[in-house]
C-alpha cells in the first residue's frame, strides 16, 4: 500500500494525543487526504487486531482513539485504579431519554419518567454526560438539555446518530 509507511506516524500521533483525533486533523498533519487516513487507520487497526498486540483503535466521538484491547480488560484493571462509575438505573433511564429526545426540558423528562429528576439531572451534569443546550422558546424559557462529547466516549459512539434504534416504531415522531 502506498501510504503504509505512515502507519507508524498515525500510531504515534494517536498515542501522544490520548483523546480521539479527527481524521481531518491527522490528514492535515501528515499532509495526505482524509480518505488516505481512513485507509491507513483501517490497515493499522487490522495489523493490531490480527497480531499479539495489546492495543487497538476505535472510532469514537468523531475521531480515532488508541486503546487497550477489550480482551485484556481483566489484566489492565489490575493496574488501573478502576472506579466504580456505574450509573444508577434512574440515571441511566434519564440519560437515555435525554439522548433520544434532545434537546429536552426537565419538565418533559419528568413527564416521561413520572418522577422528579432534579437530582439525577444534576448528577448527569456533574459527570459531564449532559449539558445545557440553551433555552426553549416557550413561557418560562426552560433550560434545554442534551448529551455531551463525554457521553459519546462513555458509550463508544462515533456520533449521536450511532445510537441504537428505538425499539418501538409507534413513537418514532
Amino acid at each position: 500500500m502506498f501510504y503504509a509507511n505512515l502507519k507508524g506516524h498515525v500510531e504515534a500521533l494517536l498515542f501522544i494525543n490520548g483523546d480521539p483525533v479527527p481524521a481531518g486533523q491527522l490528514a492535515e498533519i501528515l499532509n495526505v487526504d482524509k480518505v488516505n487516513i481512513e485507509e491507513i487507520v483501517a490497515q493499522l487497526k487490522e495489523d493490531m487486531d490480527t497480531s499479539e498486540r495489546g492495543l487497538t483503535i476505535i472510532k469514537v466521538a468523531g475521531g480515532y482513539q488508541l486503546c487497550t484491547k477489550p480482551e485484556l480488560a481483566a489484566i489492565v484493571e489490575k493496574m488501573a485504579q478502576v472506579l466504580d462509575n456505574k450509573l444508577s438505573v434512574p440515571a441511566m433511564e434519564t440519560l437515555s431519554i435525554i439522548a433520544f429526545k434532545q434537546p429536552i426540558t426537565k419538565q418533559e423528562i419528568e413527564n416521561i419518567r413520572g418522577v422528579r429528576v432534579d437530582r439525577v439531572l444534576m448528577k448527569l451534569i456533574d459527570r459531564l454526560l449532559v449539558k445545557e443546550l440553551g433555552r426553549k422558546k416557550v413561557i418560562g424559557r426552560p433550560i434545554l438539555y442534551g448529551t455531551t462529547e463525554e457521553f459519546l466516549k462513555c458509550f463508544g459512539l462515533d456520533n449521536i446518530e450511532d445510537l441504537p434504534l428505538l425499539p418501538d416504531a409507534v413513537y418514532a415522531e
Binding site: 501522544i16 494525543n17 487497550t68 480488560a73 456505574k86 438505573v89 439522548a99 419518567r113
Partner: protein, 240 residues
C-alpha cells in the same frame, strides 16, 4: 409477610410500579383491565411502610389518575346530539396512560441497551494525553502590500501629533498612567528610578517627575526612603 417489607423507593416512580404490576400479572399493555390494576396499585401504596411525602405524592397523583380513568369507563356514555361529536368521548380513557406506559417501557429498554454499550466501553482503557507546549505558527500568504498599507495607516493616524505637537510627546497624564501601570504590574511597589527608565530624554524626565508629584498630591502613591542614599520606592496606596 415479605410484602410488608416493600419500600416505596424500590420503585422508581408510579410508572415503574405500574410496569411491575403489569408484568407480574402478565397484563396486555394495550388492553389494561383498569379496575384490577387500580385495586392492586392502591393496595401496594397501602403497604408501603415508610412514607416519604415528596416521593409519595407522585404515587398518589397516579392513584388519582387511575381512579379517574376507572370512573370514566364505568360512567354511561353521554348521549350525543346529532351534530356534536365529542372526540374525547370516542377515545379510550385508558389511551393516555397506555401511551405513557409504552413510552416509559421503551426508554427502560433503551437504557438497558445503553448500559451494555457502556459495559463494552469500560473494557477499553485509554491513556491521558501527553502535554506538548502549543506552538503557534506564523500566518500564511501575507502580502507585502498589506504591510505597507498598515504602516501608512499608522503614519496617518500619527501625522497630527508628530507635526503639530511634537514636543508634547510625553504628557503628564500619560506618564501618570504609565506609573500606575508599572505599579500594578509589580504588585504595588517599584523603584523610584524605574519610573524614569524609558526613552531617556530630558523632556521625559521632567514630565515623569511632574506626573509623580501629581500622583502624590492625589494621594495615589507614596514615596519612601529608609535612610539617606538608600533606594527610593514608590508605593501604590491601597484604596480603602
Amino acid at each position: 409477610m415479605l410484602d410488608y417489607e416493600i419500600k416505596l423507593d424500590a420503585f422508581e416512580g408510579p410508572l415503574d410500579l405500574l410496569m411491575h404490576l403489569i408484568e407480574k400479572n402478565k397484563i396486555d399493555i394495550y388492553d389494561i383491565p383498569i379496575a384490577v390494576l387500580t385495586e392492586q396499585y392502591i393496595e401496594y401504596l397501602d403497604r408501603f411502610q415508610e412514607f416519604n411525602i415528596e416521593i409519595a405524592s407522585e404515587f398518589l397523583v397516579m392513584a388519582a389518575t387511575l381512579l379517574q380513568i376507572k370512573s370514566r369507563i364505568l360512567l354511561p356514555k353521554v348521549k350525543k346530539t346529532e351534530d356534536e361529536t365529542d372526540i374525547e368521548d370516542e377515545l379510550d380513557p385508558r389511551q393516555e396512560l397506555i401511551d405513557r406506559l409504552l413510552e416509559y417501557r421503551r426508554f427502560k429498554e433503551v437504557s438497558e441497551i445503553l448500559d451494555q454499550l457502556a459495559e463494552e466501553q469500560e473494557k477499553l482503557f485509554f491513556r491521558s494525553p501527553t502535554l506538548i507546549p502549543v506552538q503557534y505558527l506564523p500566518p500564511t500568504n501575507l502580502d507585502i502590500q498589506l504591510l505597507l498599507e498598515a504602516f501608512h495607516s499608522v503614519l496617518e493616524a500619527n501625522a497630527d501629533h508628530t507635526s503639530l505637537v511634537s514636543r508634547e510627546k510625553f504628557s503628564v497624564q500619560d506618564k501618570m498612567a504609565d506609573i500606575i501601570f508599572l505599579l500594578d504590574k509589580q504588585a504595588g511597589t517599584i523603584l523610584f528610578t524605574d519610573a524614569f527608565t524609558r526613552s531617556g530624554t530630558k523632556n521625559e524626565f521632567i514630565t515623569t517627575f511632574l506626573a509623580l508629584l501629581e500622583l502624590m498630591k492625589l494621594k495615589t502613591v507614596t514615596i519612601k526612603q529608609t535612610q539617606p542614599f538608600s533606594p527610593i520606592y514608590i508605593n501604590r496606596r491601597s484604596e480603602e
